[in-house]
Symmetry: D2
Subunit: 362 residues, 4 copies
């Protein structure tokens, strides 16, 4: 039996999106002779009945190492609460039936959704309404409970670790504090893992409100023992004890359109003021989301893409692919969504950091 | 209670060895105030009562990103069957008591052995004789059953995948077959994973004796469909159906001292002859074992080193650290050694390769 | 005749400093049997009669690829106007005689100074006072007229270009303006060359005061032609027409100890406000000064170090090494210092950028 | 006046070919409003009147960092002596008039040829016959006298140097000789420059026939001084004194279709035999020709492409672009072709290598 499978990508960027698409298209065509349709701009493309893109094997050549997504991702939002203009105002309407209508018009047998928690929750809601959905989890922050790891995360921490390596050499020569702000609003995985791998002295994450005292003491102790430089990694969502997140420094002035490093600068300023120490701040920003996927992420993306198609063919809908114990398995979307995996302040990874003398802000 | 812990590295090189040493030294000193002694040249250093190297935190600075091992590894062999010269001839003797004597003289409470299957088997034998041993598994080929993955492997496949990326661009412009030989005598993990991540068309591994016909057909089919180049990844231990391994091409002439790419050249020659196609051969060799460890390998090495010291302190001897389901746990050496993890010809990873159209030689 | 040569590094960091030291030490020892003394912390080490470091060939092993400088660089400043505490206040005194005294005590025949414009001007002043000085130019900004290029620059633009490559992929998927701030207070070489090599759409440099209108028009024109993303590279010293440099955003509050990206954020904010476009800002900071030197920089550093020693042996003092037309030659320090090489707004490199459609702010 | 410009690429691969094409297309369109036609498969495409490819700005998006050439290169050869089948035999015929006819049919005003010495000689011959030709030099070996450097070379030595860095770490831990064979049949630039930048102990190049004795002595001297490993870089065209090139090891058997590392293996074998030392051989092969162009090569390619179009517009035909003293200038093809730039055995670069103790085979 021939299948007609649609695929879309939702939410923020993550290296490996294209590799999932490539693997899914190849598996569908080569192993099952199925047709694949690429939906442009995520759920938006379905709501707005955009022209789909028939994806043949030749179309996906070279996608393995290409960052970004050839399909684009949705910008406007949840089809169940979709922004539409009415009488000059923007109101939210349920457009899920339009979306389902579009799938029917295109004679789609199944839909593969590659996306983060938000996109997968929508996928689950569509499944509840009878759509044959299979999910592929994507979160560069690695904060999804249902899978040990998602693609894009290894590339992000690799980029951040390479940046730390570079800061190290120049810090050593000059007796300075070097602050590097990385992604992570709610979950500190990127900061924690790149910090351990890059030899940071202080790592500040959202899960552990930090004490200014602990940071200053750590840096001072290093100075006393002869290490005149210190490397501080700060997740963008890190907060001082009793303080608030300072992510969107200029939000009100610019209507939320621009995002600057907030907490990184604040930490740098405090170190400079308190310790009379030269301090430099680097804000990695979207560099972490871009670039060729790492070898690990290409493998994981490929395995996810292949398995998603197998699940479609086996009719295992309402599920998403996940990595557990080295195997790709299926996990019910219902269980998977809304389950954020935060850093456990008493877990093995934090304890590893503390065992080798890293200050995690407490 | 203060501890006196010795650490040694055995066997071939793997990126991350130094990172394990660094993490172990830091944990021992910072968390437990224990003393660490580095044993030079693996078991050899103990058999020959070589001067140990007191390892303080300052000694291990910068080791996180340094390839190789500052301790050196043993070249001469198993202390239980140690080569000694007698009457002008080399005979094997059990030197394990000398080794144990040396540990006593140095007042060592526990020994951490970082090594492959061979070194860990010796560690287990020493444990049977009463030595407090904790193992850290190391195999660049990733062929140890007891742990999901070992450090060094991610770096090796990253190096090999980057090489494949480079071959891709030049192959595309010139209508050629590009053969790349990678490590892997018994286990094909490196070839298989770098081949998938690097977009290879054919992957030949020791676990699946390959058919010349299948290879030629795959390349010809690609030509027919307009892809005039093909990328072939060959594990050094790959064998044609009914053939033999050709690893040591010049072994007899040079007394085993030199190793050249064997099977890679043979495969290249056959493709050139049979398909009248320009063919180029790359033999990656030891490049795969060298270089800075990848971010993943630095993390895993650090976690292994930290946990090994925790196990020493908790008195969990006769065990080795292992990664399972995202956690570092202890596994009895007895169960761990001698259990090679080969690629399952019907397993998920091979099926993934075949699903996207890669020929695995059959 | 045996020589006794001292070597020091001054000013900011640049990848390749260690490679110069290594090459100089090797050449001195191997080719001439001379002694080399490393002076710690630049001119400070001489003024304060710090213990010098005898540098043998074994000492410099591994320095070829190590960023930073093993000798450290001076922090306090010009020996001819050296800060000393007097009656509780900091006053400036001429300490050049102390420095010369120190060289005599150490029986130094010649001094090799690796440094930027400031350090080389001091070297020239010392030469005027009779010291046998040879200079090695160092400026990561590549703004020295006397040499076609200096080491560190290629590494810096390589780091910045790799960052642009990563921003490109994620910009493409998301319809955004990506602003990246790079080094360059007076000279825009880094911004210009990484911008061309990294495919930027807008490049803003100190030498060409930029028009907000030109930037906005460029980005809007791209949108109209279907390219919904734009990449903007901003040198930290770039200024709007009629505006001022905004390098030290928080200078007053923090006594000049902390430096944040200034103009990058300002540019991002304006784009967001004017074009109602999502904008992200990356501030590369000191990442550009760190890391392994590139192959080009290792070669240039090595050639500089070797030639500096040849010049010492040939008695060509008061000169510095320089690259011209592929050769390393000697250039009088007098001519070399104080001659800044800025980007010529009508020169070939700017014209190259404009020929391929890059907006340089006008 | 509108122009109609054709562009083709000839000969072997070099990173930066696509970047030249991109820059030329952009300059032609944006600055001059000219039309660009891409000729597929080099001169072959003209001889065989293949369909040309109209190249618009959108067509060349992303080409800056893409290795290889989107146009393909000629495989069959010189249009002035073109292989054609006659009565079942291959004979050579002058097809240059067919080629010129094709240019006329396409109404081409000028032809930009990107190629090596051979392709540029043909370009010159076409110029003599009245065609408006501008050349862009390409040789990964950097052996063209008329330009200080060509694109692709920096990428090649960067790849080779990174491989040497990796060999270094693993050599250090294991007391071995590591031999790495790189490209360079006639000119040893790649071996020489990557060898210096990568810290090789021995560098063998075609220009200096090597003495087995010198190599062995160098390695033995290192052993005596405690360095138990040695790194040997061998250009594929290196020859022992009184010996012959061994490039095409298996040429006769396979009709020249396959090329294996020859001299690298021979050198490895001799070291193993003579010094009883473990030896490993790496043959980098076409990895050196592939991959993303380096930052330097992207800049140079872009500058070459831009200037080539300027020269077309200014009517400066019969010339090629060249880098001299930091500027791109025009050089008559007549002077440029046939002038190979070999390593001068008494030149500055070789002397640099010897000054720091590298054995260059003598």
């Amino acid at each position: 039996m021939l299948h007609n499978i649609a695929i879309l990508t939702g939410g923020g960027d993550a290296p490996g999106l294209n590799a999932v698409i490539r693997a899914a298209v190849k598996t569908a065509k080569i192993q099952y002779g199925a047709h694949m349709l690429g939906i442009p701009d995520g759920y938006d493309g379905l709501v707005q009945h955009a022209e789909p893109w028939p994806l043949d094997v030749s179309e996906v050549a070279g996608l393995l190492y290409r960052g970004g997504t050839i399909l684009g991702t949705s910008n406007r939002g949840d089809p169940f609460s979709y922004p539409v203009e009415k009488d000059g105002k923007i109101v939210k309407e349920d457009k899920s039936d339009d979306l389902i209508e579009c799938l029917k018009e295109l004679r789609i047998d199944a839909l593969i959704v590659i996306g983060g928690d938000g996109s997968l929750a929508i996928a689950n809601a569509l499944f509840q309404k009878g759509i044959n959905v299979v999910g592929v989890p994507k979160t560069i922050d690695n904060d999804l409970k249902a899978t040990e790891v998602t693609f894009g995360f290894d590339t992000a921490i690799t980029t951040a670790t390479e940046a730390l390596d570079k800061l190290h050499t120049t810090a050593e020569s000059h007796h300075r504090a070097m602050v590097m702000e990385v992604m992570g609003r709610d979950a500190g995985w990127i900061a924690l893992e790149c910090g351990i791998a890059g030899g940071a002295d202080v790592i500040l994450i959202p899960e552990i409100p930090f004490s200014w005292d602990s940071i200053m003491k750590k840096i001072e102790n290093r100075s006393k023992r002869g290490s005149k430089f210190s490397i501080i990694v700060v997740a963008e969502g890190a907060v001082p004890e009793g303080g608030e997140q300072v992510i969107q420094a200029s939000a009100d002035e610019t209507h939320g359109l621009v995002r600057f490093g907030g907490i990184g600068h604040l930490v740098g300023e405090q170190i400079a003021k308190n310790l009379k120490m030269e301090t430099r701040v680097t804000v990695l920003g979207h560099i972490q989301r871009g670039g060729k996927p790492s070898t690990f992420d290409r493998l994981l993306s490929t395995r996810f893409g292949v398995e998603a198609v197998h699940m479609v063919v086996r009719g295992e809908f309402g599920q998403m692919v996940a990595l557990r114990g080295g195997k790709i398995i299926g996990v019910p979307l219902e269980e998977a969504v809304g389950q954020q995996k935060l850093v456990d302040p008493e877990g093995q990874m934090i304890k590893t950091a503390e065992a080798i003398g890293i200050c995690v802000g407490r």
